[in-house]
Symmetry: D2
Subunit: 266 residues, 4 copies
C-alpha cells in the first residue's frame, strides 16, 4: 500500500493548502491512504476545531494526528471522543486523557494501524514512548503488520532512536514537530521507513508558519510575545510518500514531497 | 565566490571521509573556500585535537568551526590560541574564553568573514547570539560584505530567527548540531542563504555517528550510558555549496550535498 | 543599617498582607529600608500594575523588585520607566529592555544600592548574570559599599554560586522565585549575607500561592491548565532582616521572618 | 512512631557525619527508624558503593534512599538487588531497572513503608511519579497506613503537588535533591507531614558539598568543569524528625534538624 503523510498543518493557509493540493497530489502520487498532522490547524496555529477536522476529512484526509498542541484549543475535549479518525499522542497519561492514540484503517482490504506518539526530550513529561510503543506494537501485530507511526518529537536523537528501536516491527516511523523537512528519508536495515521530520504545511515565508516579527522579537527581548499565524504570501505543503509491502508490512520506498504555491486560495 | 561547508565531522570515519572525498568534491564543485565543523572530530566524537585540526587543514580545509563540544577534549585549551583557522562559538563568555569566534580568509582577492555562533534554546547559557551577531556583523561589514555564519543550534526556530534577523546583512547562515541534514536550502528575501542544518559527516549507519545500542539503551533505561563512535560500516559526508556575489555579498545559490560511501578507507 | 526584605508578593492576599503586617513588622524589627519582590502582585499572580506599585509604596515599601514575571502584565511597559523605585532584573537584554536593574536609596544618610538579577538555570536565556554583576558591582562600589541583591533564580547552585562569587563585594545576596523559604540564612566568609530563598507572601495554603486543583491537575494530566491565585484562607508573609555595617558594607546579621495570619483583611 | 530522616549524604565527610552524629542524635531525638538519602555518598559525591551502604547500616541507618545519582557509580548494578534496605526511585523504567523503589520495615511492631520517587520537572524523563505513587500507595495501604516518601525532585511546585496529591493517604512526603533545607515543615490538612527539602549532609562550607572554585568557574566560563567534593572544613548534617500516630498513620509532628560541626572526624 502507498501512504501519503502530510506534516503539521498550520492555520487557515495550511488547511487551504490541503484543500487545493490534495486532489493534485492524489492524482500524481496515487496514495491509498492519507494521514495529516493537524496540531496547528486552527487560525491561531494552536490545536484543532471540530469543523477543521471535518473539513480535512471532507477534503480527502483519512486520519488526523496531533502533538504537543493537541489541547491548545480546549474545544477538542468536547469532540475528540467522537472523532473516529482523530488521534492524539498515545503516551499522554493513561486513564485521564480523552481520545485515543492509534486507529485502524482499512486500506486495500488490509488493516493499517496509525499511531501517534510524542517525544520527551526538550518536551513535556509524558509517559515513556519507548516501552509503550513496544507493547502497543506487539499487541497490534497480532492484527496487522502494517503499522505507521507519527512520532512528534524535537530531538533528532530521540526520533532516530525510536525508529531503530522499532526497526522491523513497524512499517514506518516519521517525525513531526520541528516544522522543517529533513533530507534523510531511508529504509532502515530491518525494513522500517524513516524520516526525521516531514516538515510543515501552511505559510511558506514565515517563521515555521508564524509572523516573523514577534518570533524574532521574542529572541531579542526575552519578553512574552504573542505569536500569530502569517496570513499572507505563498503556501507550502510538506509530506512524504511511503510504499509498504502489504504481505510483510515492510517498507519498500520512502520519499519526501514538497509543494510550493504562490497563489492565494479561497 | 563559492563556499563549500561540511557539517559536524564525527570520529575517525568523519576525518577519513574528509581526506578521501574532499579532493573528489573539489573536483566536482570547485569551491574557492572550504569550511568544516569539527566539534566531534576526535575518535571519541567529542572535541578536536591539534593533530586532527592539522590533518583537516592539510587535507584541504580552510577554516574549522566548533560548537557545544568545543571544550570536550581539554587539549584544545593548549592550542586554540595558536590555531589561526580554528574558531569556536563567538558568544561564549567574553574575556574568559580562549580562542576566537570568527576569522577572515582571503578568497578570490576578497575577504570572507567566517563566524561561529551557538544557540541557547535547549542548550548552554551562552551570551546573547542575536545582539552579539548584530554588533559583530556591523563591525565586519566595514571590511567586507561577504560573511558566512555556522550557527550551531538545536531549535529550528532559533536558527531561522537568526537567519531572518541577519537577512541582507550576511551572505549565509547555515545551521549545525542536530547531525541531520534538512531539506530547506533557500535564499531569504534580502539575499541571505539559509539552511536549517547541514547534517553530519562520519559513520552513516549509527545514531548521529554513535553506536545505536548505547543511545537506545539510554532512552530505554534512563541510566547513564557511555556513547561511542560507530567504527564500522559506510560513511556519509553532508554539506552545502553556497555561491556569493563578491561585489554585493549577496547569496545567489545554495544547495545541499551528500556523499555516501560503502568502502573502508585507511 | 537594617534592611527588611519581603519575598514574592502573590495576588490580592499578598498585597493586603503587606498593608496589614508591614506596620507591625516595622514596629518589631525597626528596619531603615524595606524592599519587596512584586513580580506576582496582580490579582492573577502575574506581574504588577501601576496602582499596586503605588499602593505598596504608600504602605511603606521603599523599593520593589521583579523577576521572570516582570512583563506578564503588559501595562508595566507604560509605567516602568517613570517608576523610580521599581526595578526589573538587570540582565534582561541591554538597550531593548524598559526600566532599570538597580536603584540607589538613601538610608541613614548613606547610599544603599538595590540590585535585581535573574538566574538562567532552568529559566529564560538572559544575559550572563555573573559577569554583569561583577562589572556593575565594581562600578557601584565607587559610590557605596552597601549593596543588596535580589537574585531571582531557580537552582540552589546558581544562587549560592552568585553569593560566593560576590562574597566580600556586596552586603547581601538573597534569592527569590521558588516561593519556599529556605533554612540557611548565613554570613559568608567575606561578610556577605546569604539566603537561598526568602519565600513568598500571600495565600498560605495554596500551591505557592495558586489554587491547588489546577496545579495538581497539570501534573496529572500534562494538559494546559489555567492557574489562579487562591483567594481564601490564611495569609503568610515571608522575609528576612539583614544588618549591615554602614562603614564597611559588611553584613553583621541575617535572619528569616515569617508571619502567618488567619484573619481576613480588607 | 518517630522517624529520623537525613538528607543527601555527600562524600566522605557526609559518611563520617553519620558515623559521629547519629549516636548523638539518636540519644537526643529517640527515633524508632532512621532513613538516609545516600545518592552522593561516594568520595566523588556521585552514587554509592556497597561498602558505604554497609557502613551506613552498621552505623545505625535502617533504610538508604537514592535519587538521580543512583547509577553514577556503576558498581551499584552488582549489589543493589541483594541490598535489602537500599531503594532507588520507584519510577525508573519498569522491568529494566535493577533494585526496588520501596521497602517495608518493622517499627514498633508495625510496618512502615519507605518509598523513593523522583520528580521530572527539570530532571530526567522517568515514569509518571503521580500515577505510580497513587497505585503503589493504594496497594500498600492494604498492609499499612504508615507510609514515608523521599521525593527526590528539583521544583518546589512538583514536590508540594505530590504532597497535596497524597495528603491523607501517606504519613509524610519529604523532599531531597536541592541540598538546601527549606523552612516549611508542616502538617497538611489531611495529616500528611511535608517538608520541601531536608537539605544535605557533608561539607558545610562548599557549594552544596562540592568545592566552590569549579562550580563557580562552570557558571563563569560555561565550559565543562570537574566537580570535586570539598574535603576540608566543617561538616553539616541536615534532617527532619517526624512523629506518626501508629494507629491512623497520620503525622502528628514534623520538625527540621541541623547539626554543624567544626572538628575533623576519622
Ligand atoms: Fe507543529
Ligand atoms: Fe508540535
Ligand atoms: Fe555535533
Ligand atoms: Fe553540537
Ligand atoms: Fe519568578
Ligand atoms: Fe514569584
Ligand atoms: Fe539529586
Ligand atoms: Fe543529592
Amino acid at each position: 500500500m502507498r501512504i501519503l503523510f502530510i506534516g503539521d498543518v498550520v492555520g487557515d493557509k495550511g488547511v487551504s493548502m490541503i484543500q487545493h493540493y490534495l486532489p493534485v497530489i492524489k492524482q500524481e502520487v496515487r496514495p491509498q491512504v492519507t494521514i495529516v498532522n493537524g496540531e496547528n490547524a486552527t487560525a491561531m496555529g494552536r490545536g484543532i476545531t471540530q469543523s477543521i477536522y471535518k473539513k480535512l476529512m471532507g477534503d480527502g484526509v483519512d486520519v488526523v494526528t496531533l502533538g504537543n498542541h493537541a489541547w491548545s484549543n480546549r474545544e477538542i475535549l468536547d469532540f475528540i471522543d467522537d472523532a473516529n479518525r482523530l488521534i492524539r499522542p498515545y503516551n499522554f497519561p493513561k486513564n485521564v486523557t480523552p481520545g485515543k492514540g492509534y486507529t485502524l484503517v482499512n486500506v486495500n482490504g488490509k488493516q493499517l494501524a496509525v499511531l501517534n506518539f510524542q517525544g520527551r526530550v526538550f518536551m513535556d513529561n509524558l509517559d515513556d514512548p519507548f516501552s509503550l510503543a513496544e507493547s502497543l506494537v506487539t499487541e497490534l501485530r497480532q492484527k496487522t503488520n502494517c503499522i505507521f507511526m507519527d512520532f512528534h518529537a524535537e530531538a533528532t536523537s530521540e526520533k532516530l532512536a525510536m525508529a531503530r528501536f522499532l526497526d522491523g516491527k513497524v512499517s514506518a516511523v516519521v517525525g513531526t514537530h520541528t516544522h522543517v523537512q529533513t533530507n534523510d528519508p531511508r529504509i532502515l536495515p530491518q525494513k522500517t521507513a524513516f524520516l526525521t521530520d516531514v516538515g510543515m504545511t501552511g505559510p511558506a515565508d514565515g517563521m515555521l508558519g508564524m509572523k516573523p516579527e514577534s518570533v524574532i522579537s521574542r529572541f531579542i527581548n526575552q519578553r512574552p510575545a504573542r505569536f500569530e499565524v502569517l496570513e499572507t504570501g505563498r503556501g507550502v505543503l510538506s509530506g512524504c510518500v511511503i510504499d509498504i509491502d502489504d504481505k510483510t508490512g515492510h517498507a519498500t520506498a520512502i520519499k519526501t514531497i514538497k509543494y510550493l504555491d504562490d497563489q492565494a486560495h479561497g
